[in-house]
């Protein structure tokens, strides 16, 4: 196992994007910004959203709809689901005080669940790249840890009163007190079992598990357990989730565009394709989160309410599309997720047959 094949880019880039940056941000905020006035962080996050959060949604939409084959393969996700979501948005516009809060609440509860799925997925990808097998029991322990951390975070968010979303008053989801203890018990049991299995593997193979394999779960823990107590950090968690996503989505896009028979393999081409894909997704993100809400500004609702409802719909659509297009069991997806960016610059290493690419 070479260092090149363990990472999508290299140690520094992968470590920072997958979790290092968010852990440093958490430590920084913990040390220097514990103020309850989150406005400066909020505006900073809004700017970052234009270049990271919004494009991450756009990248999913782009990946699904860029190929007619994808639409034919997933007709309900591509065509049926948007109809249902448009109906839910219409219902929310019609009853902004009765239906919209539940639509937004559904998204707010689904979102950290979705983050948990990404954490499991990233761990599986890096484990596969590192040659660290994650069987049924290991996966169960990891899932217990990750999903319990998400529930722990949700409980904290609810107790701390996450009621304001795009200026909309969203009721907190009432949960019984005992759930807290149960969730912590499951989370720590999962952590101990997974750590034990990892330790045994290290002993057996006389080598350490590369830290990058454990970094997604550790990062997830920081986000939802200690991070849940820091309001200024909540605001930037979606940014870090999106950053993780964009790294993987970029590699997949390079695979689709460059990793085909006859594709030009060079750093110049990698850079050009990354710029093309990045700029399209920035524009797509602006269209999704600013353009579409602006088109509905004629509605007799506050613009922020309209934007919040539409953002919830885009998010829920993203959760579905992500589930469809990123299945690791799919051979084409899993093979693409084993590549390193350098392979797209080196002709000998990256000349993949067209039939193996996704959405090409």
């Amino acid at each position: 196992m070479t260092a090149r094949s363990l990472y999508f880019v290299n140690w520094w880039v992968d470590t920072l994007i997958i979790g290092g940056l968010s852990i440093v941000a958490w430590l920084g905020l913990l040390a220097f910004y514990r103020s309850t006035n989150t406005q400066p962080i909020f505006w900073f996050a809004v700017v970052l959203s234009l270049f990271v959060n919004y494009p991450h949604f756009s990248a999913t939409v782009y990946r699904l709809y860029q190929s007619p084959d994808n639409i034919r393969h997933f007709p309900i996700t591509a065509c049926g689901l948007p109809v249902i979501l448009i109906a839910a948005v219409a219902a929310s516009f019609w009853q902004p005080n009765i239906i919209a809060p539940y639509f937004v609440m559904l998204f707010l509860l689904w979102s950290p669940y979705h983050y948990s799925g990404q954490t499991i997925g990233l761990t599986m990808v890096y484990a596969r790249r590192a040659g660290f097998p994650i069987g049924r029991w290991e996966r169960m322990a990891l899932s217990a840890f990750v999903f319990s951390a998400f529930v722990f975070g949700v409980i904290r968010f609810q107790r701390n009163g996450l009621t304001d979303f795009y200026g909309m008053s969203v009721p907190t989801f009432p949960l019984p007190d005992w759930i807290d203890a149960v969730v912590q018990a499951v989370m720590w049991t999962g952590a101990v079992v997974f750590a034990g299995v990892t330790f045994m593997w290290c002993l057996k193979h006389k080598r350490l598990v590369p830290p990058i394999v454990l970094l997604p779960a550790l990062t997830h823990f920081v986000w939802f357990v200690p991070g849940a107590g820091l309001k200024s950090f909540w605001i930037v968690i979606p940014f870090f989730h999106s950053l993780q996503y964009l790294l993987i989505a970029l590699i997949m896009q390079l695979r689709v565009r460059i990793g085909v028979a006859g594709g030009e393999h060079s750093w110049r081409r990698v850079g050009a394709e990354a710029k093309r894909w990045g700029s399209r997704n920035i524009l797509g993100g602006i269209l999704l989160f600013i353009g579409i809400p602006a088109a509905f500004s004629w509605l007799p609702l506050p613009v922020m309410t309209t934007a919040g409802i539409l953002a919830a719909a885009v998010n829920i659509h993203h959760f579905f599309v992500d589930g469809v297009i990123w299945k690791l069991r799919d051979a084409t997806t899993s093979s693409a997720l084993m590549t390193n960016i350098a392979e797209f610059a080196a002709p000998a290493a990256g000349d993949f047959p067209r039939r193996q690419t996704v959405g090409a």
Binding site: T77, G80, Y102, L106, Y113, G117, P174, P176, I179, G323
Partner: protein, 124 residues
């Protein structure tokens, strides 16, 4: 006004029971109308699945069935979302139900043909 509209609506019909139904429709609350729309959407999914029988894959039929679950789940959530304030245990169960819904939706439109199912089993 409501009575007048109801009277017009039932002008061609006889019997007090019918008149009462029409009046119920006119005076339905927004929540009830939303529920009715949800039921309509579920019927539409079922009818779509029926008419597509033999023309689309089993995976598409399963996806339509999952849309029915999603719509029904959201309708129930909109009706009982705050039940935990009165009955904490019910709030906990509702939350577990939501996680189950998310987990189910994570399987949305996955390849479920026999070959891939066998492969998935062996992968695990």
């Amino acid at each position: 006004m409501h009575d007048a509209v109801a009277a017009v609506a039932v002008a061609g019909s006889a019997g007090s029971a019918v008149a009462a139904d029409a009046s119920d429709f006119v005076s339905a609350t927004p929540r009830e109308l939303f529920l009715a729309a949800g039921i309509g959407a579920m019927i539409a999914c079922g009818v779509t699945s029926f008419f597509l029988a033999g023309h689309v894959s089993e995976r598409t039929h399963v996806a339509l069935a999952m849309l029915v679950v999603l719509i029904g789940g959201f309708c129930l959530f909109a009706l009982f979302g705050m039940i935990g304030r009165e009955i904490p245990v019910a709030g906990g169960l509702l939350f577990l139900g939501l996680i189950g819904l998310f987990k189910l939706m994570n399987q949305f439109e996955m390849r479920r043909d026999r070959t891939s199912r066998r492969k998935e089993t062996s992968d695990e």
